[in-house]
Amino acid sequence: MKIRHLAKAFTLAATVAAGPVLAADDEVVIGLSAALSGGAAGTYAAPAEGLKLYIDRLNEAGGINGKTVSLVIYDDQGDASRAASNGKRFLTQDDVQLIISVSTSATFAPLISQATRQGVPILFAGSVCPAETMPPAEPLLYCSTGFSSVHDSIAMVDYLRELDGDATVGFAAMGIPISRAGMEEAERIVLGADMKSAGVEIAPPGTADYTPFATKLIQNGAEAVLAWSPWSVQIRFFDALRKQGWEGNAFVGHLAEAELEMMEIKDPGLYTVGSNAMIFEDSKATQDLVAAVTESGVDLHPEAIVDGWLGGIVIEEVLGKLGDDTSAEAINAVMSDIEIDTRGLRGGSIKWTENNHFRETIYYRVYRWSDETGAMEIARDWKAYEVE
């Protein structure tokens, strides 16, 4: 299934030059660099598949505005060097007009440095939004995903204050720059709001046992803990806290794994704060998504693909606004001034302007497991935050 599609993507490494994938007039070539395999695939493979599924359905329906999408997919394994290689291939060989990234933050730098030089826009559609997409935004870089370390932190602290304004808050981060930056920002916000901090604990990437980190947070009197890092790390932090009998509430980022894992953990003290809708609520939007997945016969969990699906919606809307000129430049012009209807999968639209490639207003929802109903529940409905 995947293989067939990728056949176009792979050229023979051992034989003589393969020709570039030439775009027909009515075809837009988009490169997708994703962590399809490797350690991070647990998070990113599903959204990437979701995006591909969306685009396939668009093409089958005859394209958008008379244009079809040729999606060139390369696996970057969440690895920086592979991503650099993919970027070069997209730009020099496949002549893509847009690059989509669904991979770890480690792959951002190589992709950004390659693409910006060639004037090709990048859409981050499965991972954390890089700071470069936020105001003042760098040209060419756009982000459609539901999470950003700083804004998620703002929303987490805000919700925490609604619940318990006097709580002493501890912060759990992973030793990668983007996670540290988010949690240190969260601590600043907490201190600025006259709440007490139990400190930021940063676990190195190769941590074997999170217990000592959790102990420190507990001993510093943390009544609530905020965590923002890859799911596997935030959840291990949470486990370590609970194992020491800690009974506070934990607020974690809403990542692709969140819904499925929370239904297994069944802990009402674990809150996810994020901007994607969950599948359990069975709204029109989520029903459509689930139906599409079922129909495709692909072995995917609908819960895990929401960000990729939204990436597909973004592509559809951008191409819908695109005129006859399908160059990278024209695509970038459309993207820098557009409002995308998120069709019920988010709290509101994604609006990009010249200066803001993240969105003008971001909507957050809080989810948790409810013991009373024995199901997931919305702890707080959509709340809008202006992005400055």
Binding site: L6, T11, A41, Q77, S113
Partner: protein
């Protein structure tokens, strides 16, 4: 006992191979001309792979000299490359320094780190030494991560293409030629070094340290010299990596990278500079070949989601096969093949 402890001398007769490298001049010239013509026909993707091989080759040559010739094991090779890449990245970002400053600075930084982490080698050997070089990796990555975080470079440090004599080195073909020349230069430098007094001292202390000392070789001096020189080269290749890929981040330099370099010198053939080149080619190509195989042979039942783990597994398996069945590496296979053909042609000549 001394042989089994220090180890690797057995794998390949060092002197013989090192000398044999200089051998067939016409064949070498032919190869160089052929390689110089590659960019005229290759696609950008293939040129990119070639450039990756060249950068790996420089690093592999350094490790070959250190481990294959001087007999000092290092698991910190990835850390050294990171050190070079970060020196270049930080200098560029903080001062805007050009390539004529950043590259020498990276070499010096690598040499200094090599000196520091070479010091334990005066006391330690074998696996103990390998473990102490592991610390190098963790220290460099820690410092690099702290810099990235402190400077707000949450996605890494970006580099613009280097400018050489007013010409911006960006195009894939230009990089190909530049790196090609640098590999040739490194190879030439290393082979000259091996034929000098220093090279002979290294071989002596590799074969038997106590005997070398008895023969008047200043063991401590030459050991440190091996660490300093090869670390400088490794760091240099890290800086080239940074420029070529236009970015630096800690995530690009994993422990697995150090293991890949060790695999290059094993698979290539211990003790041979040409082996280092062959190893660099082989190890760089493995993942691409695996993916290609998965493409062309769909019946394997593997799909793209397994590409990374399949190439990991294949890589481990290949390393094992070479270690168990072909300890003299690709260069050993090559020599046997050549020997067979030349003995056959001799026979025919006689008849």
């Amino acid at each position: 006992m001394s042989n089994t402890e220090t180890g690797i001398g057995k794998i390949a007769p060092v002197r013989a191979v090192a000398k044999g490298d200089g051998g067939n001049r016409t064949a070498w010239m032919g190869l160089i001309v052929l390689l110089a013509l590659v960019p005229l026909v290759a696609s950008p993707f293939h040129l990119d792979i070639a450039s990756q091989i060249f950068i790996a080759a420089i690093g592999a040559l350094a490790l070959m000299v250190l481990t294959g010739i001087a007999g000092q094991i290092s698991l910190g090779h990835g850390g050294l490359m990171a050190a070079g890449a970060f020196t270049t990245g930080i200098l560029y970002k903080e001062t805007g320094a050009g390539i004529w400053i950043t590259l020498p600075a990276s070499v010096v930084a690598g040499a200094v780190i090599g000196l520091i982490f070479g010091l334990p080698s005066l006391r330690l050997r074998g696996v103990y030494l390998a473990m102490s070089t592991l610390a190098l990796h963790f220290v460099v990555i820690y410092l690099g991560g702290e810099y990235e975080f402190a400077s707000g470079a949450s996605t890494g440090i970006f580099l613009d293409p280097p400018v050489i004599f007013g010409y911006e080195l960006y195009d894939g073909q230009a990089w190909y030629y530049a790196l090609f020349l640098l590999v040739a230069g490194t190879y030439w430098g290393c082979s000259n070094l091996l034929n000098s007094k220093t090279g002979r001292a290294w071989e002596a202390l590799h074969a038997n340290e106590t005997a070398a000392e008895a023969l008047g070789v200043q063991v401590a001096r030459y050991k440190l010299l091996a660490f300093v020189i090869t670390s400088g080269i490794a760091s240099f290749s890290g800086a080239l990596f940074a420029y070529y890929q236009s970015f630096v981040s800690v995530e690009a330099f994993t422990l697995f990278m150090s293991i890949q370099y060790i695999a290059m010198i094993i698979i290539g053939g211990m003790g041979s500079l040409t082996g280092a080149l062959l190893g660099a080619i082989f190890v760089t190509l493995v993942p691409y070949c695996i993916e290609w195989l998965m493409e062309t042979v769909p019946y394997l039942g593997l799909d793209i989601s397994t590409a990374s783990s399949a190439s990991h597994a294949a890589f481990g398996l290949l390393m094992i096969l070479f270690l168990v069945f072909e300890p003299s590496g690709l260069i050993g296979i090559w020599k046997r093949t050549v020997a067979r053909f030349s003995s056959q042609s001799k026979k025919e000549g006689v008849q």
